[in-house]
Amino acid sequence: MLKKRVIPCLDVRAGRVTKGVKFKNNVDLGDPVEMAVGYSDGGADELVFYDITASAEHRPIDIGMVSAVAAAVRIPFAVGGGVSSVADMERVILAGAEKVSVNSLAVRRPEIISEGAEIFGRQCIVLGMDPVKSGRTPSGYEITTCGFREFTGMDAVEWAKRAAGLGAGEIVVNSVDADGTRGGFELVVTRLVAEAVDVPVVASGGAGRPEHLVAAFNDGLADAAIVAGMVHSGEYTIADIKREMAAAGVPTRMDW
């Protein structure tokens, strides 16, 4: 049986893993490669790195770091943030990442999804989206871009369907309302997207306790869930989360 995936997310700024709440107050958490190895050895099913930039001034993606992670871990990982062209996607994939995630770029230029899927295969192209509760769109969730700073007027569910149609192989639903709160995933928007598209959906934003992941899978209908603060802080291990998932009957990889 296919397992539900637990995916630690590492935000990398200027070569260090950081964690902030709603993109603010970033705290240094450690070395990306060391943390990747730790999570891989600890049972993570996959990893995601965001904003792997070589410096704090948003220079291009740190390809050296992508290679270092690829050499060090034997589980799949995705890279997002800082991708601005098909050439960037190619550099990330050739360096050893399985997937590239696009977010604001795809809103500005949706063809980037089909161009990437055509060249690398749709399994390599992840659409990240940052929906916020809003009265302005039919589903009640509106897409924001640029780190939640800009409202687009685009409906989250419509955008997910369009992106999947263009060739996105997976969709990460990162709730602006839940992000960084550790109060649980935004299950409504996760489920709306999961029911609307025929590609896997990853719940993101708000994971604080193992039962939040159980809810993302059972109620949010997610195929995978992203964790950050709850594991970076040391409060929970991946094994803690998976034991709770297994106990709740969620298919989980327990042998690593």
Partner: protein, 197 residues
């Protein structure tokens, strides 16, 4: 020398790193003579079958790959497994290498089953399953098409109501639908066992 066949079907970086983690350096080759000269052949592949077969033909690799599969330790991975079969439904139907009998088909659309299958799935050992799979292991899959269960099937997995060949083996001729290079410890153990077969 262990070689990795590059026929323009996907990225070889992860496979190289996985062998490096086992202390084995592999050479990436794209011409028939170097496949013929190799001691062991890894035949990876990601992407579409039509393009993959077209590339194998245009690069003159078809006979070299067929010969290698019969004569020396051989490991097909993912699309590199699917094109070993007679035929695939992908890209409107494509004749493949015919080293294994059967047709590769697309997963049916069933409620609750997303296609492609992405993630870790169980592999149940059957037939000539290697020791690294015995007892059942979990491996990482990314695929929309699946190979049928055949006489050479060594591992069976299940998705979208279908039981499919996640691994085949006949002596030193191995193939797997999953990605051993991305399957953590289980994957490394399988690669290590193949290196000593």
């Amino acid at each position: 020398m262990t070689v990795l066949v590059d026929y323009g079907a996907g990225n070889l970086t992860s496979v190289k790193y996985a062998f490096a983690a086992l202390g084995v350096s592999v050479e990436v080759v794209s011409d028939a003579s170097r496949v013929a000269a190799a001691d062991r052949v890894v035949f990876p592949g990601v992407g579409a079958a039509g393009k993959a077969m077209e590339n194998l033909r245009s690069r003159g690799l078809v006979e070299a790959v067929r010969a290698a599969a019969v004569e020396k330790p051989f490991l097909g991975i993912c699309l590199g497994m699917q094109v070993l079969f007679s035929r695939t439904e992908e890209d409107g139907g494509v004749d493949c290498l015919g080293l294994l009998d059967g047709t590769v088909r697309r997963f049916p659309d069933l409620p609750g089953f997303k296609v492609p299958e992405i993630g870790w799935n169980d592999v149940a050992p059957v037939g000539e399953a290697p020791a690294s799979v015995s007892g059942g292991r979990e491996f990482y899959f990314v695929h929309s098409y699946f190979a049928p269960v055949v006489a050479e099937t060594a591992g069976v997995s299940e998705y979208a109501g279908v039981k499919f060949s996640s691994m085949t083996r006949k002596g030193r001729f191995w193939a797997c639908q999953f990605h051993p290079e991305k399957s953590g410890r289980a994957g490394l153990e399988l690669l290590k066992e193949w290196l000593s077969c």
